[in-house]
């Protein structure tokens, strides 16, 4: 009786698990096959297989320039978020234990603020101070929403660090900066890189703020959005498939890097 109940609940749990996974993955199983069709319209299942829409994407100046703009913005945003976030983690680590929790909440708050509010706020500021339609300002806004993730990822690595390693470097003769870079930084580096990759895609995927801030230019998500509204061309499916593949590879790479580093640290 007991055994049966355990068996049933285990079955129910795993059915639920796979149900959720299928639900999350479902779009991928639709989008990727559709992208390899040569027909004029989005249609599932795809007929007439081919890579026509990938060719369209790579040969269309509008799509390419949107991609390049997104890339530039994401690069700048992730650079800023990674540097500022990492420095925040270091100062939290060195600061007084009493205020650490409070400051961590404050720094990671942008995670729970809806992007639309951030977008509105930045937009108002942009108009007031005359930097509307600036991709640098957009990168700054993206850095703000990406930084909490950097703080969380690098902060987790920092908490695993043995603080006596840096003390060892100090007592062996290294000044504070030298000790940080020779003892702590190498162990944090994998997490910093992983956080940078994550921050990059937070910016690369972001639509709402970009929509508010830019008028004369277009990022890739803006282009996809515009495309979907107007003509629903299968190019979107091709772009999405590419995005899925690139994102997956980068994220898995970053995660592996982070894990391997964690393995090195643990003794």
């Amino acid at each position: 009786m007991d055994m049966q109940r355990t068996g049933f609940s285990r079955f129910a749990l795993s059915a639920y698990f796979w149900g959720v996974i299928a639900f999350l993955a479902f779009p991928i199983f639709v989008i990727i096959p559709i992208s390899f069709s040569n027909s004029q319209f989005l249609r599932f299942p795809p007929q007439d297989l081919g890579i026509r829409w990938y060719e369209t994407y790579f040969n269309d100046a509008v799509w390419v320039s949107a991609t390049i703009l997104s890339f530039k913005v994401a690069l700048l945003a992730s650079l800023v978020a990674t540097i500022v976030g990492t420095m925040a983690v270091i100062s939290l680590d060195r600061g007084a234990a009493r205020t650490r929790q409070m400051l961590t909440y404050l720094i990671t708050a942008p995670i729970i603020i809806p992007h639309i509010f951030i977008a509105l706020g930045v937009f108002i500021l942009a108009i007031r101070f005359g930097f509307a339609d600036s991709e640098i300002a957009l990168a700054g806004a993206h850095a703000t929403i990406a930084m909490p993730f950097v703080v969380l990822i690098v902060g987790a690595a920092m908490r695993q660090m043995d603080p006596t390693i840096e003390r060892a470097a100090r007592v062996l003769g290294a000044g504070p900066v030298r000790a940080f870079f020779s003892a702590t930084f190498p162990s944090l580096l994998p997490a910093i890189v992983a956080a940078g990759v994550f921050a990059f895609f937070v910016s690369f995927d972001e639509l709402i703020i970009a929509q508010f801030m830019l008028s004369g230019k277009e990022t890739l998500p803006m282009r996809i959005w515009a495309d979907l509204k107007l003509e629903v061309s299968p190019t979107v499916a091709a772009v999405s498939s590419l995005l899925i593949v690139v994102t997956t590879i980068a994220m898995v790479g970053a995660e592996l890097l982070r894990r391997r580093a964690a393995g090195v640290r643990g003794d």
Partner: protein, 362 residues
């Protein structure tokens, strides 16, 4: 390399309401092996950190080789330090770890190689220079940490529970190694441990610590034979604490044994005496001056050549004693009633809090 003197002059460190160190005074002689011994939380690490420069004292002064170092950051104090967690740089191989302090001091390349080689030789790891720390065993990592701490020939070496993470057998082997390093290097060593056996085996002198204060500083044999307080007597080895009260004219009464002894010398003022388990023997021989009493064997811990007993006194208290098994000696059994005794000269007056329990330190 030779050692430098280290002095703590009235050093205090407060963390909020906690006195991690209170009025800490200690003079360590050049080349001495000084151990801070105390339970967890007694301020040993704090004292070491103040000396290394990781913690600023709330009051007082720390001196190395006669110079106050209070204003110097750790990197300018020129002391070596070994941590319990080894604290090797995980991304550097053994050679680079040991070379680190030399490179910081701008030592020429050939000289670096020579001195790293010498240090690794001393810890018997000459072949492992190319290994990464994660490819080493715990004992090997500790040796590398040691080589790294002494390669730049610091006059003072600090060790914070360096053997705490090793298993018993390895710990004992490493104790011998550390003794050898000390003899070879001649530097002053300030060693921290909560293991009294380790402290007794290694040290020239031991500072027994409790609640941020020094309870007693002395050589291992004097700490063991002449503990000044109940706290020290109980922390170092096992002992029996017996209570005294005024007895008949010219005598004091040992409460737990219910017998009077002459109130000579220090005994007249003392309120407690400490008697080590090995100082108590069977009283059958009626040795001259033996204070004897009857007890019933309660527990027997048989160790082969050595037997530990716990006996119940007529008054209800417990007493620890032990016997080496000499020729013809029998082993007592639980429930046996036996005459025991000790010499008054082996009973040491101690100060400190009194407590209901008689046998302690188990």
């Amino acid at each position: 390399m030779s050692g430098a003197a280290v002095s703590f002059r009235g050093v205090s460190k407060r963390y909020g309401p906690v006195d991690a160190l209170a009025d800490f005074d200690l003079e360590v002689k050049p080349g001495e092996f000084m151990t801070f011994l105390g339970p967890s939380g007694s301020g040993k690490t704090t004292a070491l950190n103040v000396l290394a420069g990781f913690t600023h004292a709330t009051a007082g002064e720390v001196m190395i080789d006669g110079r106050s170092v209070g204003g110097l950051p750790p990197e300018q104090r020129n002391v070596g330090m070994v941590f319990q967690s080894y604290s090797l740089f995980p991304h550097m191989n053994v050679f680079e770890n040991v070379a680190f302090p030399l490179r910081l001091r701008g030592v020429a390349k050939a000289e670096v190689a020579r001195r790293v080689g010498e240090s690794l030789d001393m810890v018997r790891l000459a072949d492992l220079g190319g290994r990464m720390p994660k490819e080493l065993s715990g004992g090997q990592r500790q040796r590398v940490a040691f080589a790294r701490a002494v390669v730049f020939e610091p006059p003072v070496l600090l060790m914070d529970e360096p053997l705490g993470a090793l298993d018993l057998k390895l710990r004992q082997a490493m104790q011998l190694e550390i003794k050898r390093y000390h003899a070879q290097l001649g530097c002053t060593i300030v060693f921290v441990t909560h293991d009294q056996g380790e402290a007794l085996a290694l040290s020239d002198r031991i500072a027994v610590m409790g609640e941020g204060r020094i309870a007693q500083v002395d050589t291992p044999d004097r700490i063991y034979d002449y503990p000044k307080s109940r706290y020290v007597a109980e922390f170092i080895g096992k002992t029996n604490i017996l209570t005294l009260e005024p007895g008949n004219a010219g005598a004091v009464r040992i409460v737990e044994l219910g017998c009077d002894v002459p109130a000579q010398g220090a005994l007249a003022e003392a309120r407690m005496i400490s008697v080590r388990p090995e100082k108590i023997e069977r009283a059958a021989g009626r040795r001259e001056g033996l204070i004897d009493f009857t007890a019933r064997i309660d527990e027997v811990l048989f160790l082969g050549d050595l037997v530990h007993y716990s006996a119940v006194l007529p008054g209800g208290g417990a007493l620890l004693f032990q016997e080496h098994r000499g020729p013809g000696a029998t082993v007592l059994a639980r429930g046996d009633t036996i005459e025991l005794g000790f010499l008054l000269s082996d009973a040491l007056p101690v100060s400190g809090r009194e407590a209901a329990a008689t046998a302690v330190g188990a």
